[in-house]
Structures are given as C-alpha cells and as structure tokens.
Amino acid sequence: MSASLTLIDKLWRMHEIVRREDGASLLWVDRHYVHEGSFHAFSQMKARDRTIAEPELTFGVADHYVPTRGRSGPIANPEIAAMVRNFEANVAESHIVAFGLRDPRQGIVHVVGPEQGLTLPGLLIVCGDSHTSTHGAFGAYAFGIGASEVAHVLMTQTLWQKKPKRMHIVVDGTAAAGIGAKDIALAIIAHVGADGAQGHAIEFAGGAIRALSMEGRMTLCNMSIEAGGRCGLIAPDATTFTYLKERPYTPKGNDFDRAVEAWSALASDPDATFDREVTLNADIIAPIVTWGTTPDDALPIDGYAPDPAREANPVRAKYLRDALEYMAIAPGKKLTEITIDRVFIGSCTNSRIEDLRAAAAVLAGRASKVPGLVSPGSSMVKRQAEEEGLDRIFRNSGLEWAESGCSMCVGINGDMVLPGERCASTTNRNFRGRQGPGARTHLMSPAMVAAAAVSGHLADVRPLLAGRKT
C-alpha cells in the first residue's frame, strides 16, 4: 500500500526521469508553447548549433507583440513587424506547428492551448510566460519558465526542477450573482499575499471551485502566479471532460473515453496532506478591486483606500504612501469615488467567451462614460462573440472591438494606457507602469470593468445587474 499522494505528487511522479542527490529532478515535458518573446531561447539553441528535440510536442502562438488593429495590411511599426517575422522564421525553421498572425486559431497562448485541446489533464506543460499556470485548470502541471529553460526544453524536451511544496486552498460556499472567478482569485491573493504561495504548487478545491466553469477555473489558476505560486491546479472532473471533448487536438472516439478513465484518477487522495492549508468561504466574497501597485492591494468595492497614518508598521506605512501617491488616490478615499479614464477587457486572465458575456450583460443598452478597448482572448472567441452579437453590445456602448493578443495587459504591441491615466482592467498585474509608463491600473472582473465603464468610476456591479440575465 503506497502512501497517500496529492495531485501534484502524482503529476510529479508521472514525469520524473532522474532524481539527483541534491534534490533536482529531470522532468519530461509533454507540451511546450512558444511565442514571439521566445526569441532569446531560439538564439541560445542556434548559438550551440543545436536543433529542436521534439517539434511535434511544441506549438507556437503569436500573441505578445501582434497588433490588435489593422491586420489586413502590413504591421506599421518596424520593430514589432520584425518580432513577428522573427517568430515566424523560428517556428518554420524548427518545423513547429504555429498559430501565426493571420491564422484563424491565433490568440493568446493561454486561451489557444486549451481551446485547441492541446492542454489536457495530466500533462506537464511549460511556456516562457509566467501565466502558464492557467493550464493547471485542467489538472495539468503547468508553469512559466525563463529563456534559458525554454532553450533547454527546445533542445532536450526536459527540464531540471526542484519539487514545489504543496498548498491546498479550499473555497467552500456559493459565490453570489455578479461574483466571478476573478473576485475569488483577488480575495485569495489579498488573503495570502503577493508572495504568500512562493515555492508552492497550489491545488484549489472546495464547492465554490467545483462550481466554476473551465473559463473561471482558468482565470483562477492564471492568477496563482500573482500569489507567488509556482503553479495552480484543479483536479479534472466532468466539467473538464465536457470542455475537452471533440476539440481539435484531444484524443478521438474510444481513445477519448480511455483518456477520461485515466484522467479521473488525477485527484489528491482523500487523506493526503499538504504543506499548507488555506480556507475561504465564497458566501462572503464581494466584488473586489485593487487600489495599489501589487495584486494583493485588493479590497471589496464597498471599502476605502488605506490610510498610512493608521498603519503602525513604518515600513508598511511607507509602502502605502508610495503606492497611493503613484495611484493618485487620497488616503481613506471611498473606492467607488475613484474616477477612471479608460477601460480594458482582455488578457489571458479574462478574455474568454464567458468573460465577454459577463461584461456585455452589464453594458447592454448602456453607454460607457470612458473610452475603452475589448480584445478577445482568441480569434475563435472573437468569432463566437460576434455570432452571439456581443461585439455590437460593446460597440454600441462606445467601446472599441479589436483583434486578439496580449494587447493592453503588457502594452508591448503599442496598446497602452497613457501616462497618468487610470484604467479599470480585467488583467492580472497592477504593477507601476505595467500598462504603459505612468499608467494606473485597477484590477477587477469583466463585469466590474463594465460597471466602471458605465459609471465613470469604480462601481459595484451588483445593483447594475438587477433584473438582468447573467
């Protein structure tokens, strides 16, 4: 009889090739996603005069630098055009299947992988992007890596890793109407801190997690990195299998049924123990917004910005003063009195069809008081949203409906928040300058961004949903 194991223990064991005396293990990689930003790694591989080990397990997506407007013509910015060209040359040279700028399957890598059925339970998945934690929503062991590790995976399809500690976050209860996975994620991050899960693999469990759709689970696992976690994980279940069935790259027919049988065993044993346990009750989670410059600066919308004068710890008080100064928010200000200049709906965190529906449910028949951009998570999501008429709701409210990419979450394709502007955003990082130099970001759910848009200030979405279908 073997000892009880958690899900991460099982995934680790399935992929461990060799263990060194110092504790490092060589792990097999089932899927490797690359994007335009992976160019350092391709250069490292070429510098060693090496070629790719497993092109059929590697997939490319153009997302970080791609323009979200005017795709029919050539890319205007020569530096960005060079990044996309370089990506296309790298994937072609290495015989990697890629969803490039004009491919109908193009989108954000963490939306496209699951959408195409490339992301599956039980896989070890890596990508040179910290939000690779997203794929853990399927019960995959998925984490972000740097360029040297990307190069190592390209050359060997393996990676040296040290086993993460195990953290169990159980969210029971039922989230109220208008409360989404983003609110649960921000509540968790506020609770454990932006570095609270450092060195840990987080397994999310409990009734409120089971009730989430795959889109919601992806949002939650995506944000694991904002709590400092190495990865986020949710054991696969019927919701997972239903999502995956008949996607382009998932097993077909009997193979799918056999896969589901194997995937069903991917759960923590009932008596397995974790290094750390955290519990939250979804019943009491309110819509949450960030006020400061790290994702754990998060508060319920009916709250007030902190007042450094009331903070006893001088280091913390200084942090609060600096963050409030950068954000141009008076100490103790009521959060719903913070006016905004712009909204953004998009990013690997919140740009899937369910996110767009949630925002559209608030925006329908209402005008946005500020300009804003909506960038769907993938070109497939964009088409589906257009079939459902969501694009018209966004346009009629005054927001811009654009193509898919990382866009204004990281600003490297030119979609930026201007210096000093305040943006209500569905993204993942409210870091200083993240959306552009001097930009001020408030993170929240798509429904809450829509509420801010129609109000012109941070606002509670719940009254705006009264009498509406959500």
């Binding site: 399935m14 992929h15 090739i17 060799v18 060194r20 110092d22 504790g23 060589l26 097999w28 899927r31 930003g37 350092h40 060693r48 090496r50 059929e56 397990l57 960005i80 060079a82 990044m83 059925g117 490339l118 599956l120 039980g122 040179g128 992007d129 910290s130 972000g144 890596i145 740097g146 360029a147 040297s148 590790e149 190592h152 050359m155 060997t156 399809q157 040296w160 570095d195 450092q198 990195i225 400092g228 190495r230 382009p248 097993p251 077909k252 056999r258 995937w263 410059t293 790290t294 280091v315 990281v410 600003g411 490297i412 990082r429 870091f431 200083r432 300058g433 993240r434 130099p437 001097g438």
Partner: protein, 205 residues
C-alpha cells in the same frame, strides 16, 4: 556560465519590497537583443523621471554606489513576469549577487542559469546590512557561497540558498551538458511514458 564561489564587492541598498521584473526591466525593452545593452536600462522607470532626468534619490544614480556588484533588496524581489532579460539587465549592469528576504520563483531560477546569486536573509538582516553599508559606502562586503555567509565588517550573516542552485553556481554547471549525460534514460522514459499514456500525444487535428 561563470561560476560563483566568493565575491567581495560594494553593496548598494534598494530596500523596496515587491520590485517585480516589470520594474527591473520595463516591457518596452523586451524586444531588444541582449547585445543592445540591457544594463543601461536597468530600473529605467525608477532611475529616470517622465522627462528622462535622473532621479537624484534613486541609489543607482548616486556616486557613492557606483561600481556596486551586490544589490540589497526588499521582500519578493523579481516577482511577476518570467522575463529572463530582467536578469540579463542586472548582470550586464554589473550585479553578481542580490541579497533579499525573498525572491520570485521564476526570477530565482533564471538568475542561477546566468551566474547571478540570489541570497536569502531575514528582513532584519538585510536592513542591518543596508544600514552598515550606508554608514560606510566604500566598504566592500564579502559573500561566500561555499560557507553560505555574508561578512560585513565584524559581523557575519548566514544566508539561505537552494542547494541545487548552490551546486550549479559553485560548479558553473551547464544544464544542457548535464542533461545529455542522461540521454539513454530520457529516451527510455519517453517511450514508456507515451506507450503507457497514449493520450499525452496531441491527436491529429
């Protein structure tokens, strides 16, 4: 990769917490090849104001900290984005060691692959070290990775480092060469894994 065994150098204090990789190297420089000089844009938006003028209160702009190879940093240094160019930027500026109470996981992994030591000490110890070097900015401190200690004046501070990272830095190991030595086991694993779990292979789209 350059080995790291021991270093005596000037240490610059920058005790802000949560200095994420977006602060270390803003995203607009990510398209630069390393040869373009990423060290010159290290902490760009903290070092310069909106008009491109140096902020006098930022330590790297002060003459007393020129030539520092050790950075004393706050909690959760290097969290956020996985951009390895943040490490290139620190290294190419001249830093060989960052001492902080905690580091972002991916940043710490990237650092070791590039010969940059991330040494973990308590918040009290990093504040102590910062106070000591601030009172005598010319004085070097000594970081000994073999003994895992930092010596500053007559005081010695133990530091934590992941044993895997320590091994790699001291030996200057190259990951790819090391992996190559396990080639046969990798090949055997691959076959067994894919036969036993046929679903791990992408189906024909």
């Amino acid at each position: 990769m350059e080995k790291f065994v021991e270093l005596s150098a000037k240490a610059c204090p920058l005790l802000l917490s949560n200095l994420n990789t977006d602060q270390i190297l803003p995203a607009r420089y990510l398209k630069w090849p390393r040869s373009k000089g990423l060290g010159a844009v290290l902490f760009q938006d903290l070092r310069f104001d909106g008009d491109g003028h140096e902020r006098e209160d930022f330590p790297l702009n002060q003459s007393r900290w020129q030539g520092a190879k050790i950075l004393l940093a706050g909690r959760n240094f290097g969290g956020g984005s996985s951009r390895e160019a943040a490490v290139y930027s620190l290294y190419d500026y001249g830093f060989r060691c960052v001492i902080a109470p905690s580091f972002g996981d991916i940043f710490a992994q990237n650092a070791v692959k590039n010969g940059l030591l991330t040494a973990v000490v308590s918040e009290t110890d990093v504040a102590d070290l910062a106070a000591a070097v601030s009172s005598d900015p010319g004085r070097p401190i000594n970081v000994d990775l073999v003994q895992q200690v930092i010596v500053c004046g007559n005081r010695t501070y133990a530091f934590d480092v992941d044993p895997v990272s320590r091994n790699q830095l001291i030996n200057g190991w190259d990951d790819v060469d090391l992996t190559e030595s396990h080639r046969d086991r990798i090949a055997a694993f691959r076959t067994e894994h894919q036969v036993r779990r046929p679903w791990v292979m992408p189906a024909k789209a």
